[in-house]
Structures are given as C-alpha cells and as structure tokens.
C-alpha cells in the first residue's frame, strides 16, 4: 500500500498540475442557518439486513459481507466504534421505521448510483433516528473472495457506505481518467473516494490512512489524541479566503496521505489524525470532480486557482498541532 501511495504522490509531484489528493470530511446537513453533524451519539450501531437478496447474492451472503465491513471499521485501534447485527427483516432500506436497514433495493430513479446511505434526523435535537443503506439491484454484484468479472464487489461498496453511516463524507484521494465511455478510477488511496473502481476490483476492502484518520477523528480513542498530530492554517487567494480547497498532507517517510478541505469563507482548514513526522502539504482545486459529491456548491466553492505546494516541510508533532500554515494560491489566469 505504501508503494502505491508513494507512486500516487510522486505522480502529483512530477505533474505541476495534478488530479489526485486526499481529504476526509464529516457529514453534515444544513437546517436553516445551522449545520447538523451526522454522528452517532451511542454505540453499538444496531442494524438489520433486508431478507431479500439479489441475483447471485443471497440475504445471508449480504449479512456476512456487511458484518465483515462493519468489523473492518470497528478494528481501527484509534477509534471507538461498535456494531451489532439485530437480525433479518422484511423491511426495505427506505426509512420511516426507526430501524437501520441494509439491503438491496430497486431504485430506477437513482441511475448510476451503486449504493447510498440515508439518514432520518430530528432537527430539533440533531439525533440520528435511523440510517439506511441500499444497494442498487440495477447493477450486478459479487461476494466472491477474489472478485468476479463484470460484477461490483459488494464488500468494497459496503465498506464505503458504512463509512457514511458512521458520519464520514467523501475523500478525494483518487485519480481518474476520462474517455468517451465515461470516467474510470486509475488509483485511489481512500475507501471513501466517491467513484467506484471498475467491476471485479476488490482494492477497496481495506481502509487507508485517510479513512482511519477520519473515523478516528469522529470517534476518537484515547490513543488517537496521543499518537497523532494535526496541521491547520488558511488558504487564501488575492488576500481572500478560499472555500473548498483541498489541502493534502503527505508523510515523507511512511507515504501515508491524509487531507482536509478549507471549509469556511476565511479559507481555514484543519487536518487531524496525522502520523507524527515530516509532511509535504499541497493545495489543489476540486475542479475535476462532481463537486456536489463533496461539498455544498451553494456555499461558493472556489475552483479557480492553481495547485500549490507549501514551500517547507511541515513537522507534525505527536499529540499536538504543527505551527499554523498559511498558503497563498494564484488564480489560474493570473
């Protein structure tokens, strides 16, 4: 994994302009002028599995696959999460029953969507009342241990959706290529990358550094704050803050990539969960992606600036924050 991460980042360094970056985000939902963070206040997360399978995947296989995916998240040592299979249900993953249901469903109106996670939230308290995950029966699925040609790997997509169910949004650690037939993932270093690998690919069954940092940031174990550090700062252009910039932290020795976004109008960012040591920082625009997969475009996300590397290595301490970093970017036409 390290070699792939190093290759990925080397590609970024070689190209003055690049497409790959990292970042974990937390899910939130706007209610009026405020934002509710979607996060479970109690563990374990109790979930049901719909008792209907799909062609080539039985309900039992779905349950085993989902349980493995939950276990992968629960095994992160710097996070405190747990889950409990509550049984099979005749309910569908549609909501309105105060139960978290995971299963297959036909949703023809959600074309090009392999799977998705939904929440029902009490906006007065911010409590998650339930969360459901559906997998679209319009696509061919596989639970084969080594993957199957022309079928999407259920465990990989389940791992991604269960990341959402925990409250993680998308990461942008990935690189794609474009052709007349669509876009395809070339490389990715986060399970939370929003674009699926091609059918038969099982690479997304394993969490990456960015995923681990994200889940640990949401549900931190005591070790998380002791063992990791953070970096914070601002991204500005022409003296004004840049909203929606990707800030990427690449560990020089381990090759681990973790990142964040500038999420406010003043361009401030915070990346937590970094392994202590020297990091390269890079800022880039989200101009290659469907921005709505990451951020609320109505907030005024800025994509008109050039990629910028911070001039110095950033030393991230254990259990603390690096000195504040201010990065100035230039407009593409400037």
């Amino acid at each position: 994994m390290k070699s792939r991460a190093v290759l990925l980042f080397t590609l970024l360094l070689v190209a003055a302009t690049t497409s790959t970056a990292t970042a974990y985000l937390k899910l939130g939902s706007r209610v009026g002028t405020r934002t509710i963070t979607l996060k479970w206040s109690r563990m374990p997360i109790r979930y049901f599995v719909a008792d209907r399978g799909a062609p080539s995947v039985t309900a039992q296989q779905m349950q085993q696959t989902v349980t493995r995916a939950f276990s992968t998240w629960n095994a992160v040592s710097t996070a405190v999460t747990s889950s409990e299979f509550a049984g099979f249900t005749t309910a569908t993953p549609r909501g309105g029953d105060n139960a978290t249901v995971i299963g297959f469903q036909s949703r023809p109106e959600l074309d090009r969507t392999l799977g998705a996670t939904s929440f029902l939230v009490d906006t007065t308290t911010g409590d998650i009342l339930e969360s459901d995950i559906f997998f679209n029966t319009a696509f061919p699925w596989s639970v084969a241990s080594g993957g199957e040609p022309n079928r999407f790997d259920l465990e990989s997509i389940a791992l991604h959706e269960i990341g959402h169910l925990h409250g993680l949004a998308h990461s942008a650690i990935g690189e794609t290529e474009l052709r007349a037939g669509g876009r395809r993932v070339i490389a990715a270093e986060s399970v939370m990358f929003p674009i699926a690998f091609s059918p038969a690919n099982i690479q997304f069954r394993t969490l990456r550094a960015d995923d681990i940092a994200g889940i640990s940031d949401l549900y931190p174990a005591a070790s998380f704050t002791r063992q990791t550090g953070s970096v914070s700062g601002t991204v500005t252009k022409n003296g004004a803050g840049v909203l929606g910039a990707h800030v990427v932290a690449f560990h020089l020795r381990t090759g681990k990539i973790v990142g964040g976004f500038s999420l406010s109008a003043d361009g401030s960012f915070v990346i937590a969960g970094l392994e202590p040591g020297p990091h390269i920082l890079r800022v880039e625009p989200l101009d290659d992606a469907d921005i709505e997969s990451f951020l609320d475009l109505t907030l005024g996300v800025d994509v008109d600036f050039r990629v910028k590397f911070h001039e110095r290595l950033v030393a991230v301490p254990s259990g603390g924050g690096a000195r504040r970093i201010d990065i100035k970017v230039l407009p593409k036409g400037g």
């Binding site: 549609r94 090009r112 052709r179 669509g182 674009i195 699926a196 907030l299 593409k332």
Partner: protein, 184 residues
Amino acid sequence: MRLIIAVVGSLLLAPALRATVLVPAEFGEIVSGSQIIVYGRVADVHAEWSDDRRQIDTIVTLEAATYLKGGPGEAVTFRVPGGQIGRYKNVLVGAPEFHTGEEAVLFLKAQGPTVAHVFGLNQGVFRVRMDAHTGSRLVVPPVLMAAGDGAETVIRGAPGRVPLPLDTFAATVRRAMGQARGAR
C-alpha cells in the same frame, strides 16, 4: 489540547456534505442521456412524504429561461430524494439540495408519466452563480468532456478548467448534442 481544539473546530465547520458511490458519466453521456436540459431559476421547493410515508422527497419547480433540449413548458418540475417536513429531515447523501431563487442548468431524465429526476443523482446539476467582479453568470462545476476516443488522465488544477460563462456552457452543450447526433 490543541489537537482537541482542532478536531472540535473541524466538526463545527462541517458543511452540508454529499456522499454515495457513483458510476460517473462523461459530459457527453450526461447530455445524450438527458431528455430535458434546461436553464432557469428555482421557483418553488417543497417536501412531501412518499405514498407509503416511509421517506421524504423534495419536489422542485424550475421556471425555465432556456431549454437546450426538450421543453415541457414554462416551468419544469422534478423530484430529488430527501427533504424536511417539520422537525424531521430525510437526507439521502449524494442528493442535491435546492433553494428558491437559485439558478441552475439541469440535466433531467423524464420517462413516461413519472416526475423527472436529475441525471445520475447529482451529476446533472450545474449551478449558475454571478461572478463577483464581472457580474456575468458562471456555471459550476467545470465541464469534464472527453476530447477523443482515447483515455486521458484528468488533471486537477488544469489551467483551462474553470467555470464557464453561461453562453459558453450552452454552446458546449449544443456541441455535445451535435456530436451525439453525428455519432449515430
């Protein structure tokens, strides 16, 4: 302590975010796969329970200024998953949200008698915003369109990939429609 402050701070800053796993389309596919392509202003947004009262959907009405494809009338109505009724909010992560007064170019799928929906959940949403300096209308996100049949790596930060003026965006849509016709 600084780390804790940083973590808490990042939680407080969390904006409305999106998430799902998509099979992404190239721009030409979005154009050819949509029955309606329309630029307009959101006139009404209201949420309603589904017939079985299991989920909340939002019905959006767009006052059409220009149809680039199709054209059901002065206004077009479409459905997006999720919405809020009273204290309850249903969030399908990945689904776009709309607010009255916003302008957008929308790529909609409309088949049979059902209410139209956005192509590819959110891939058919291109927001229109005013450029603060020039006052002209810009379309975001930038277009990702294949130049030819061969594969090309998508380069983040590419100089030419910037929000397009509305007229240029419309011309790009028309060009893609022409290419699709030529390919048949």
